[in-house]
């Protein structure tokens, strides 16, 4: 690669070149994703695997009237390699497009606006970070992954539209283990590394370990008063995001929020959930060139307000798009905080379960929004506002209409920002801003 700073200009260059080879009437949409990342994987205070990944991927949509075909190609960021490769792909797509019928749901931005967002970061070198991390936990059993570097997202089309989003970030996702599955999990992510901020998170983990050292208790299945920390709420939100907020899943009645449509079911009036692009760290444009609004209100007052509408769904259901991706799931989801003092959740819980993390959720009845999953990491039994002991893993099986509805006692007055550490295919820019939730009774089954 010829250097991180040139990725943006290279996208412009190669799309301009590709545009020059288009036939009359053809339109090209191009979306680039890329990164220059280092990954360090830890296990037991050792480095399991460490390395660097440089990748550039270009997705294109080759359009002629209402016919089109889509493709993707890896980029070397070297014209002598990329131009023949892209040219071959375009030839393939022309052939496929000729055999395809017109697409009644094709929609792309024709009057899009340009944009550019670039943010730099400050963080230790990957080697320094590795040593710093190992030194910081005093020989404790550390497991996790440190990822850092530049990520790039760009859009360019043959109509001249250009959008660019670039950031330099780090994301350290780790757990400290005491024994077996007794562990505490934490995340330190952002653009500006602070040794003090990092150490405070490590100190929090070490304090949790001290509590985990107590004899764990087994709870019998049943209903328990429960506090769900923001990281646990994230897992529930992820399930709701699986079809809960997209127009297509609503119109095809496959949404887990089906009862809001058919039975006027509601969440608690304090529940407000938004796609908060303005408050997140994701690009404000998508693959068809549409810009995303700063906010889309999905749930307000406990009721459905709007859905995420991809360009394709916009055509299919004859409504305006709001710049959603084709999967129509939020990428920067925010839940409004409540009034429960975040520093007093143990007191408010009084006696019950403190759940730090949930794990491996899925629907046990999608139409009823009934969801199952496991407790994981820092989960404690609390008595009289004091943590008594860690609790062995429990399976819950309950609906969001209970947890965010008739069983919700309150949301914390602070919302945590969580930068998603997911790295499937590449480092994501998804994020969350979520409060904790106190639930009068949550159903545990195993």
């Amino acid at each position: 690669m010829s250097g991180a700073g040139s990725v943006q200009s290279y996208l412009d260059e190669i799309v301009t070149w590709a545009t020059s080879g288009l036939s009359s009437g053809e339109v090209l949409l191009a979306h680039l994703s890329g990164e220059d990342s280092d990954f360090v994987r830890f296990n037991g205070m050792s480095v399991r695997q460490a390395g660097a990944v440089t990748q550039r991927d270009l997705s294109i949509d080759l359009i002629d009237g209402a016919r089109h075909a889509q493709g993707a190609v890896s980029l070397a960021q070297d014209p002598s390699i990329d131009r023949p490769r892209l040219s071959a792909l375009i030839d393939d797509l022309r052939e496929q497009r000729a055999a395809a019928p017109e697409d009644p749901y094709l929609l792309y931005a024709t009057e899009g606006t340009n944009s550019e967002t670039s943010s730099s970061g400050s963080m230790p070198s990957p080697g320094e970070a590795t040593n710093l991390i190992i030194d910081s936990v005093g020989g404790r059993d550390l497991v996790g992954v440190y990822a850092a570097g530049d990520t790039y997202t760009g859009f360019a089309n043959s109509l001249g539209q250009r959008n660019w989003f670039q950031s330099s970030t780090f994301n350290f996702d780790w757990s400290l283990h005491l024994r077996a599955d007794k562990a505490t999990k934490n995340l330190y992510a952002g653009t500006e590394w602070s040794n003090d901020d990092y150490q405070s998170k490590i100190d929090w983990s070490l304090q949790q370990l001290a509590v985990l050292d107590r004899e764990p208790i087994d709870l019998v299945p049943g209903g328990y008063r429960t506090f769900l920390a923001p990281a646990a709420i994230q897992e529930i939100i992820d399930m709701l995001s699986w079809g809960g907020f997209g127009l297509k899943s609503h119109r095809t009645l496959q949404t887990p929020l089906l009862r809001m449509i058919t039975d006027n079911a509601t969440f608690d009036p304090t529940i407000r959930i938004t796609e908060d692009i303005a408050g997140g760290v994701s690009p404000d444009f998508q693959t068809e060139g549409f810009r995303r609004p700063g906010e889309v209100v999905l749930i307000d007052g406990g009721r459905l307000v709007d859905t995420l509408v991809s360009p394709r769904s916009a055509r299919e259901y004859d409504v305006p798009t709001n710049g959603a991706a084709n999967h129509e799931s939020p990428v920067s989801v925010a839940m409004a905080p409540g009034s429960l003092p975040a520093d007093g959740v143990l007191t408010a819980l009084d006696t019950g379960l403190y759940v730090g993390n949930l794990w491996y959720l899925n629907f046990s009845d999608r139409g009823a929004c009934r969801t199952t999953g496991m407790t994981r990491f820092s989960t404690f039994w609390v008595d009289g506002g004091e943590i008594v002991a860690p609790v062995n893993v429990l399976r819950f099986d309950d609906t969001a209409f209970h947890l965010f509805g008739d069983q919700l006692e309150g949301l914390t007055d602070q919302a945590d920002t969580i930068l998603d550490p997911s790295t499937y295919g590449g480092r994501t820019t998804d994020s969350y801003r979520l409060p904790g939730a106190l639930v009068r009774e949550m159903s545990f089954t195993l």
Binding site: M1, A52, I81, V143, Q254, N362, R366
Partner: protein
């Protein structure tokens, strides 16, 4: 075998020659693993041909082991400068990590990998490319149209799709190793959903498990051509069906649910890297410990499980894993007794345990880790009818729709699309939202019947997620119908 490494990119030399040339000779071990994956996805939904998607993902990962350090550098830049930069990154990381070598009893950190030579290519009977693009689309449109149930308004969504992959890989090492593999995979799918008020039900073509290696003959193995009318009939049937009852009873799982059951509660628990703790921050640990191998009663005597990348046509068949270890069929559970874990050469060296050739990476941009390949429950000697006849009260469940299991891979809860009650030895009422839950450590000991070869299905799963950084790979599973005793089953809603 004609694969991409013979092509020329960035200079006048072949890519393979350039990869070999930049491998450093002054380190303990170095390798270059080049992967080029071409994929095409075709779909027809609600009577509309969706835009086709054709992808070409290509890059190379260099790995260097030196003096206890291990580093990798991966890049999609296959120019001479790009390759040199990736080698430099791998070398830098090998140096930086030399003081933080892998843990393990007696493991020195020295590279346990060998310089293997070999080739592998999927067998193909009906090449995908022999059929015109338009004919693929027409075929899908024909199946998709059958999902419409002659305009029945209760059908709210329907789709038929096909995805083809050709994955070329070349592994070369600084000691003369060379492994070249070419994998052809086909993933067919059909899905239909129906609604009646507050009740939406879905049926699918095995929830995607009826995939395999080869060409269009993969479609013939599980009756793709005849699937749509059956699925639409069943989804409408489900709309009027009662919820699955809640009780402890006998349970028969069809192969397309067994695939998930094997995957989650045998496959993941016996991955050696989980047992060694690598996944404790993400995918989880395991209730299985190293001392269980050779003596632990994992299941009833009817349970026989093999790791078998040699099954022709199964989705994760290969000749060598991504570290270059030759693959062979290996018994993992014999007559219910746990025999050995799934761990590649590195995990074997760290644990001083025997393993299998399962060190796999999702692509060029992720390092190999312990994964499933083809993990199969071997057929028994009962007919499916005999399994059913032996049940006084039970349920038969088909096609996975929900999966959840704890991070030790013990407490699970799974759900299926379609259930049928078994009463006095006969299949009776169709039930919707069939779910069951259990504990891996005891569930397999309640295996009370394994159907024979006639019920045996060779399948796969296309989305197994694991690893930090995250990786999603395609794995194979095969199984006949299996019967379990005294299982907690239940239906939907609350």
């Amino acid at each position: 075998m004609t694969t991409n490494p013979t092509t020329t990119t960035g200079s006048g030399n072949s890519l393979e020659n350039r990869l070999t040339a930049v491998l450093p000779g002054d380190v303990d071990f170095a390798s270059a693993r080049h992967v080029a994956e071409r994929g095409t996805h075709l779909s027809v939904r609600e009577g509309v041909v969706q835009p086709s998607m054709t992808g070409h993902d290509e890059g190379v990962m260099f790995t260097i082991w030196h003096r206890g350090g291990l580093g990798y550098g991966a890049t999609s830049d296959l120019s001479d400068a790009g390759l040199a930069s990736a080698v430099a990154a791998a070398r830098r990381w090998a140096i930086d990590t030399a003081g933080h070598a892998l843990n393990g009893d007696g493991f020195s950190g020295d590279c346990p990998l060998e310089h293997t030579v070999g080739e592998f290519e999927s067998e193909v009977v009906k090449p995908v490319k022999d059929v015109a693009f338009a004919d693929h689309v027409d075929m899908l449109a024909g199946h998709e149209s059958k999902l419409g149930a002659n305009g029945d308004k209760r059908i709210v969504d329907r789709e038929a799709s096909l995805t083809f992959y050709d994955v070329e890989s070349l592994l070369v090492t600084n000691g003369g190793g060379r492994v070249e593999q070419l994998i052809h995979q086909v993933f067919p799918d059909i899905r239909v959903s129906a609604n009646d008020g507050g009740n939406t039900q879905s049926r699918s073509y095995g929830a995607g498990v009826f995939c395999g290696q080869g060409g269009l003959e993969v479609l013939d193995r599980h009756g793709f051509a005849d699937a749509a009318p059956v699925l639409v009939e069943q989804v409408l049937e489900l709309l009027g069906a009662p919820n699955c009852p809640s009780d402890n009873m006998d349970l028969i799982l069809a192969p397309d649910q067994m695939a998930l059951q094997i995957h989650e509660s045998i496959g993941h628990p016996i991955e050696l890297d989980r047992i060694l703790g690598d996944e404790r921050n993400y995918a989880g640990t395991s209730f299985v410990t190293a001392d269980m191998f050779g003596n632990y009663q994992y299941g009833s005597e009817l349970l026989n499980v093999t790791f078998d990348p040699t099954v022709t046509g199964q989705v994760a068949a290969y000749g060598f894993d991504d570290d270059g270890t030759p693959a062979k069929r290996t018994s993992l559970i014999a007559h219910g007794i746990l025999q050995r874990p799934m761990g590649g050469a590195v995990s074997q060296a760290r644990s001083a345990m025997a393993g299998v050739a399962n060190s796999r990476a999702c692509s060029w941009n992720r390092p190999p880790i312990d994964r499933m390949a083809n993990l199969n429950v071997e057929p028994g000697d009962s007919t499916l009818e005999q399994l059913i006849e032996g049940i006084e009260r039970g349920v038969l469940m088909e096609t996975n729709v929900s999966w959840s299991i704890d991070d030790s891979r013990n407490k699970f809860q799974f759900g299926c699309e379609y259930g049928r009650l078994i009463e006095d030895g006969e299949l009776t009422t169709v039930v919707r939202n069939p779910n069951y839950r259990g504990i891996s450590a005891t569930f397999w000991r309640n295996l009370s019947g394994v159907a024979d070869q006639n019920s045996f299905s060779v399948m796969g799963v296309g989305n197994c997620g694991k690893g930090e950084p995250n990786q999603q790979v395609r794995v194979g599973h095969a199984s006949p119908h299996c019967r379990f005793s005294d299982v907690a089953v239940f239906g939907g809603a609350l």
